[in-house]
C-alpha cells in the first residue's frame, strides 16, 4: 500500500528555533507538496517540488524553505519559528503525468504534523 510518512505527529518548539519537518514517500512519486491547515482557512500550499533539487513557491512561502535532495524525501524548514506558524502541516505526493510538470493527479497525504510554537 502507498505510504507518505511524516516524521512527527506532534511537535512543540520555541520561538526562534529552527524546525525541520520531514516527509518520506515510498511510491517513487515525482511531485511532493507541503500544505498548512488552519481552522477557517483550509489548506494552503507552502512549497512544492516536481523533481529532485527542484522547488517552487506556493501561496504562502514566507518564513519557510524546503529541501529535496532525494526523490523520496521532502523537508520543510522553518528558519526561525514564530507563533503564527503554529499549525497542522500536511505533506503530500503525486505521480507526474508525461509532458507536464505537475500532473494534477490525485494526492497522497501523510497523517500530518501538529506544530505548536510557544
Amino acid at each position: 500500500d502507498v505510504k507518505v510518512t511524516q516524521s512527527s505527529r506532534y511537535l512543540v518548539k520555541r520561538t526562534g528555533e529552527k524546525v525541520f519537518l520531514e516527509c518520506v514517500q515510498d511510491m517513487d512519486h515525482e511531485n511532493m507538496f507541503w500544505y498548512r491547515q488552519d481552522p477557517g482557512l483550509g489548506l494552503r500550499l507552502i512549497y512544492f517540488s516536481y523533481d529532485v533539487k527542484m522547488k517552487e513557491k506556493g501561496d504562502i512561502p514566507e518564513g519557510y524553505s524546503v529541501s529535496r535532495e532525494k526523490k523520496e524525501r521532502f523537508s520543510l524548514i522553518l528558519e526561525s519559528a514564530s507563533t503564527n506558524q503554529t499549525s497542522m502541516y500536511l505533506c503530500a505526493s503525486s505521480i507526474q503525468a508525461a509532458n507536464i510538470r505537475i500532473s494534477n493527479e490525485k494526492l497522497f497525504f501523510g497523517s500530518g504534523t501538529q506544530l505548536s510554537v510557544l
Binding site: F33, K106, G112
Partner: protein, 111 residues
C-alpha cells in the same frame, strides 16, 4: 487564492440519510477532486472528475460536475456514522500547476 468553495460549511444528518455537498470555483479547470479528512488526520482522495466528464460514481459516492455553472456536488448515499469527517474539493486551474483546496464541509452523521 482560494479556488474551490464548499457549501454548506457544516452538515448534520441521521444515519441512512443522503448527504450532499457542493463546491463552486471561479476559473476553468483541468479536473476537480474530492478528499475526505477524519479529525486531526491527513486527507484521503475520494474521487477525481475531469473537465470533460459530467458524472462519476464510486461505491456510495456520486460526483457531478457542471462546468457551465463552475460547480460540483458530492453525494453520499445511505450515510453511516463512519462517514463523519470533513470533505474538501480541490481544483487545478487551466495552465496552473497547483492544486487548490476549499475550506471544507464538516459532515456529522448521527447514529
Amino acid at each position: 487564492s482560494q479556488q474551490g468553495e464548499e457549501d454548506p460549511q457544516a452538515l448534520s444528518i441521521q444515519e441512512g440519510e443522503n448527504a450532499t455537498m457542493n463546491c463552486s470555483y471561479k476559473t476553468s479547470i483541468n479536473n476537480l477532486q474530492w478528499y475526505r479528512q477524519n479529525s486531526g488526520r491527513g486527507l484521503v482522495h475520494l474521487i477525481l472528475i475531469r473537465s470533460n466528464e459530467r458524472e462519476k460514481h464510486s461505491g456510495r459516492l456520486r460526483v457531478t460536475l457542471d462546468t457551465s455553472k463552475k460547480s460540483s456536488s458530492l453525494l453520499i448515499t445511505a450515510s453511516r456514522a463512519a462517514d463523519t469527517a470533513s470533505y474538501f474539493c480541490a481544483t487545478c486551474q487551466g495552465g496552473s500547476e497547483k492544486l487548490v483546496f476549499g475550506k471544507g464541509t464538516k459532515l456529522t452523521v448521527n447514529p
